[in-house]
Subunit: 332 residues, 2 copies
Amino acid sequence: MTDHSSIRLVIHGGAGTIERSKLTAEREQAYRQVLAQSLIAGYTVLAAGGSSIDAVIAAIVVMEDSPLFNAGKGSVFSNAGRNELDASIMDGSMRMAGAVAAVTTIRNPIRAAHAVMTKSEHVMLMGQGAETFAAEQGLEIVDPSYFYTQYRWDQLQKAIANERVLRDHDADSDIPLPSNDEKRGTVGAVALDHYGNLAAGTSTGGLTNKRFGRVGDSPIIGAGTYADNRSVAVSATGTGEIFIRAAAAFNTAAQVRLQRISIAEAADNTLAEIAAIGGDGGLIVLDATGNFAMRFSTKGMFRGTIGDDGIAWTSVFSEAETPVKHFAVSFP
Amino acid sequence: MTDHSSIRLVIHGGAGTIERSKLTAEREQAYRQVLAQSLIAGYTVLAAGGSSIDAVIAAIVVMEDSPLFNAGKGSVFSNAGRNELDASIMDGSMRMAGAVAAVTTIRNPIRAAHAVMTKSEHVMLMGQGAETFAAEQGLEIVDPSYFYTQYRWDQLQKAIANERVLRDHDADSDIPLPSNDEKRGTVGAVALDHYGNLAAGTSTGGLTNKRFGRVGDSPIIGAGTYADNRSVAVSATGTGEIFIRAAAAFNTAAQVRLQRISIAEAADNTLAEIAAIGGDGGLIVLDATGNFAMRFSTKGMFRGTIGDDGIAWTSVFSEAETPVKHFAVSFP
């Protein structure tokens, strides 16, 4: 294994006030299981010589298909009682990118973002136009009811009753979530393949009770997602509006490229800049030699990584915790 | 006049293959007249002690209300025969930002972007949601027919006949524009006020014959627009998809902040990066001491600037040309 040819996948499932005391052992295990499945799905692609883009898609699809995370199935409801999903993806080699915003019928928005990148002359498509395009490309279209989960519906009713926009993972807001042991969020992945190419992707259901066609950072290239072989691949999660204003993903990549600082330092600088204007969240960052960082300014972030040895490691709480090793899942 | 307190406004009206031989004297004069009016409108705000944000809005509204530019009145038609407008604005002091995408009934999208910034907890709103929000905020709502111009409609029919997406200012495409002496584009402004605060804004009608709810760089904070008092204010125009992939506006600002290079050099670096991945266009850049640059990789860019003396200068063609001084308009 050389530095350059080593493969690496890093994922996140959202950052927030995730406290050990409030997450039951069963719940924690359920999250770790999906994170490990996501890691193995992406690893399987990379280990077979697949591209970092395909690994990012494989990893994110697992989290989109799980009701545990605020992306795909399990997305939160907008004020209008709809699930409006956003996703973006970027290839670090030629800096190709694709994104969809506010789609309601595409089962896996990350696949739609990829189709925009590879099959259209555009980078970002939104709403019904994006859905028409995805259908033309043969992507799986579902009835909007596919995205329905009772838990998310109850969240919306509580939020409407309280007339406030809820960040998904914000458990210590003054509006109690239906269950305080469940804190979920945006999902994302960054990958390095055998050819030294980086890729990044992000997918989300946005904010509970959002109105007015709000678009957050997840579908914004430069904010939620960025990948550049000359620096790093980045996926972000957190207070979307602040992450846009800080151009969080590109900001992190630019520091690495222009200042030659470590990726962890760059991520921390970006999070500090975000904190200074009132935001918090997390960033996963990976460079073309396989160095990676999973940094966050919240109490926890669902996250994990896998490298050449095929062993999936997952973490949920503070930076200091010992990651959990997933043997059984790693070698199915 | 000290460096810090000097006011400055720089605007653009799109970049493209604008050639002197193909722009009649009458047409050129018409463009310069609107550019000068835009500069004076923004200057009037700044000279009276107004904010850079209000100057940017005043300058852009003049160009949105003119049928000559591809923004507001005069916007190009999408494939669906609609005018779908995008705009964004950013305040360099606290890096507040607002944007709207794909709105069809808001007379001045730059005002809607400003309302998003100041009156909502969001940064980006799109489609009908953005229109509902704008109406609630008391902004002027017009019938979509307000945006109709015969010239733009004819452009769409030609583009549909040729089954191709047209960049607005791309006159030497293989699809002849109805009249080769008219090349128009996205509009934008950057301003520095008496308090040393920077602001930037961008507004566009997008691409002729665009489909699928395509969103370009203009409403993307970090791509089409960025402002940060610690570095620069930037507004971009050009091949939108490439500008998104290069995070054009933030990219330029990051170079100035992290590398301490000149603003012209930063703009040229960004345009070189854009050229390397197949794009062209222009950038206007202004720093907090009043230094500015108007750089482009196309044959021309409608542009102009005005400072403390209240004299408006406009340019259309190459960097080397002598700007035209607008006395009569400058002192009405």
